[in-house]
Amino acid sequence: MIKSKIKVMPPDLAAKIAAGEVVERPASVVKELVENSLDAGAADISIHIVDGGKKLIRVYDNGEGMSREDAVLAFERHATSKILKDDDLCSISTMGFRGEALPSIASVSDAMVATKVAGEIAGTRIRVRGGKIEDISDFGCPDGTTVEVRDIFFNVPARLKFLRSNAAEMGRIQDVVHHLSLANPDIRFKLTHGKNILLNASANSDLKTRACDILGTDIMRGVIPVEGNGGGVSVMGFVSNSNITYPTTKGVFVFVNKRWIRDKGINYAILQAYKNMLMRDRYPLAVLFISLPPEDVDVNVHPAKTEVRFKNPRFIYDVISDAIRNAILQKNKDYPDGTVTALHTSVPQDRIREPAIHYQTQDIADRQAALFEKAFHGTNGISFPELNFVGQLWDEYIICNDESMFYIIDQHAAAERIAFERIRKEYYSYGIRGQILLVPEIIEVSAAEKEALDSSIDVIKDLGFEIEQFGGNTFILKAVPEILSGRGCSGLLKDMTEEICSFGKAARIEDAIDAILVKLACHSVIRGRRKLTRDEVVSLFKQLSEVDFASNCPHGRPVVKMFSKTEIETMLKRR
């Protein structure tokens, strides 16, 4: 006879735990089921999804399994083997702890559990539909547990209507699986959607190998390892150099005590570490594992368990920032002419880090941004061709003036701006022409990017790219936009896929396309310093004057910054 490991939670304890729906969408089901599998000590977890999880979610694990008694108990509300008394809540170290996942899931779907404890002859199968146990029987199955969840929300039409497209739901499931598998590289993870294998990561991997499976080998090539600790807090993982950046925080993976979380403060701490190396609104790739004593972090802030509350947040942010900055500095020391100088940001450089001023500095950054915004929108009235060219600063900035104003023009930003307008016009007038490659290029993408590419090959074609699937996560690039020929494209393609992944999120398709065109423009102009001849400056001014500045450039850095004569006179105490 096997001892029952599941206890029903005392009601007051259950009440103590933040309320809230566990089952919000297919991805939350996947998260709960996989966390259960991890808790059960599985070494191998396979997740099979049909129709974005709307039709079927199946999670198989080779963990410890459940006895018949436990399995039945598992479907009762607040049954859990993990928390026994109040005090236990403070030192939570297993993943799930609320004992309400299985019953909640089973109440809104057609669920089946087949499970067997190693050494037992027969397993158990339980079918529950809409929360009602329909069948319990002996069942021949391998050691471990399989949970099948079919027709989610069949009895809650309001919820069903709320679900997004299969692809969108699948995207969320993928995110969940990526987080869990990054946190558990020793465990084999397989994720399939219909006939497609989206992830097949082998057991006993190290973090780097696992990250390659998930993010693609290309991206992982330039990462910098991060390690640091202090005061009981430790940070380890890796970050990208400033070459690989994303428009959102989707490349940022933060785990606190192995649990994936989202924390604005940590994101900001990461950006802080890069200081002036990233462009505004760009985030690096960062996979960071933060460990700290369980009593220093409250994991129960949010029902979906993705937010945490730290006892001493600032200290933790500092440890993270320091660890990343040290890693980057070390890297730059190793390669003195690295990529650090090529990118700019609006965040002022002169901020010496002091533990107490994080939130203050955020204000400064915002104010600064607002100022730039003003300067940027103020460029409408400048008559560029009439400006008097004074000279060039460090081969990067054009200095010029007129009667009453003094201007600094960022030549790269200006060129990018012009290129953007040109590409935009071209795109909307006859589509961007592609230059065919002599020898097609092979590109490797991550599973998520593959889905995005698959679904948008036509959109990409209008942009001048020609891509064909080659099998697996490999594509062949056959043509590139004319404007880019002669420049590296595979980085850009990655960037674009990012944008396409977020197509669904963009308010209007035009915005999404503009975002891509910005990327194209950025890649098409020469970066870095360059001495300009007077003729080149004149031609740049002429082109700038033809550009409609007021028109959208939500992503852009300012092209021009100006100072009035009065300002300068005041500065020099002439007034």
Partner: protein, 365 residues
């Protein structure tokens, strides 16, 4: 070290090696050149690690020795010296004195022991190759070499030899220039090698030295010797694309055009293409080709020229730069354009039996 040398003998060598010597370097010694004086000659060494050069110049050696000196300073001073006779001597602490007529310069040198040693090569393995052939082969391919550092395997000219033939090819991923020539001397090469573009430019400079051109492979480098100069060029590691496959075999639309007429028509029509948007459309029908470019900002341009062609109508777009590049380096009155369809590679040849093939990828329209 003490010697006298003729300005005339020195100046050309100093000029030639300026491009080898790096301007901005982390290793200051690489901005220098090494002088070794012995046995009535002076040897001048320059290197940027990738390309190393050694030139031997006759001189009257009063005291043998060696030293390194900043290449640019040395060249600039030598250029301005008033007299033909130059005296160079090295004193305490690597201090170099250059005297000519009434001028006298003192420069601080660095000891020669710090200079990288010249790569080993075995004169015996060098074979003679025809200077004119090499010159032609380089001139007709080098313009197509990629200048994108990140695609290092195509940033040089691919050089291959097989029985009785030498071949060169260069590509930037969008077009390919290839040439093959018969050769009498046997060149021992197991597999093709990629010679970096910068190295090729150095080779071109020594081609008009006196004497015959010798070349050979040593380890991962290639050695070239002509007259008093030896160049050792480190080869690019990597695989050159197997370009034979991209040269189409079944292009059946054959067009003959006057090279000059085509080039000037392209130039005129492309006035309306911007510096980034370089595609123009070629519509081909019996006896006629029309070139068309349009630009959302500026408008469109159309020009018609006569050609020799009697196949089916077709349309194809090419980047004008890729067209003009090749038209500019060819020398025949007419060229042959071999096409298939708007999505396949086009071929340009001279129509002579000169082993030259240029492949150009079209643009999608």
């Amino acid at each position: 070290m003490k010697l006298t040398i003729q300005k005339n003998n020195l100046i050309k060598t100093l000029q030639n090696i300026q491009s080898i010597v790096e301007r901005k370097v982390t290793l200051p010694i690489l901005s220098n050149i090494k002088l070794v004086a012995d046995n009535n000659k002076i040897e001048i060494y320059a290197t940027n690690i990738e390309t190393s050069c050694k030139s031997t110049i006759p001189a009257e050696i009063k005291k043998s020795g060696d030293i390194t000196i900043n290449a640019r300073k040395f060249f600039e001073i030598t250029k301005e010296l008033p007299e033909e006779n130059i005296e160079i001597s090295v004193g305490e602490n690597s201090r170099i004195t250059i005297k000519s007529g009434k001028s006298r310069f003192n420069i601080n040198g660095l000891p020669a022991s710090e200079f990288p040693s010249f790569p080993e090569y075995n004169e015996g393995v060098l074979t003679v190759i025809d200077t004119e052939v090499v010159k032609e082969m380089i001139d007709r391919t080098i313009f197509a070499v990629s200048t994108e550092e990140y695609r290092h395997n195509i940033t040089g000219i691919f050089f291959e030899a097989e029985e009785g033939k030498v071949k060169m090819a260069a590509t930037d991923g969008y077009r390919l220039a290839s040439i093959e020539k018969p050769t009498e001397t046997e060149i021992k090469l197991n597999k093709g090698v990629i010679i970096p573009r910068r190295g090729i430019l150095e080779i071109k400079k020594i081609l008009d030295n006196e004497g015959s051109l010798l070349a050979g492979i040593t380890d991962n480098s290639m050695a070239f010797k002509k007259g008093n100069t030896v160049l050792i060029i480190r080869l690019i590691e990597g695989e050159f694309p197997s370009y034979g496959q991209v040269i189409p075999k079944d292009n059946n639309k054959l067009i003959t055009i006057s090279r000059e007429v085509l080039a000037s028509a392209i130039r005129r029509v492309s006035v309306l293409s911007s510096d980034k948007i370089r595609g123009i459309k070629f519509s081909i029908s019996k006896g006629k080709m029309s070139l068309y470019s349009n630009n959302p900002d500026l408008g469109d341009a159309l020009e018609e020229i006569d050609i020799k062609y009697d196949g089916d109508d077709m349309e194809v777009a090419f980047n004008v730069d890729y067209m003009l590049d090749v038209l500019n380096i060819l020398y025949t009155n007419n060229i042959n354009l071999e096409l298939k369809d708007s999505g396949s590679a086009g071929i340009i040849k001279t129509g002579l039996d000169d082993g030259y093939t240029y492949v150009i990828m079209p643009m999608r329209v």
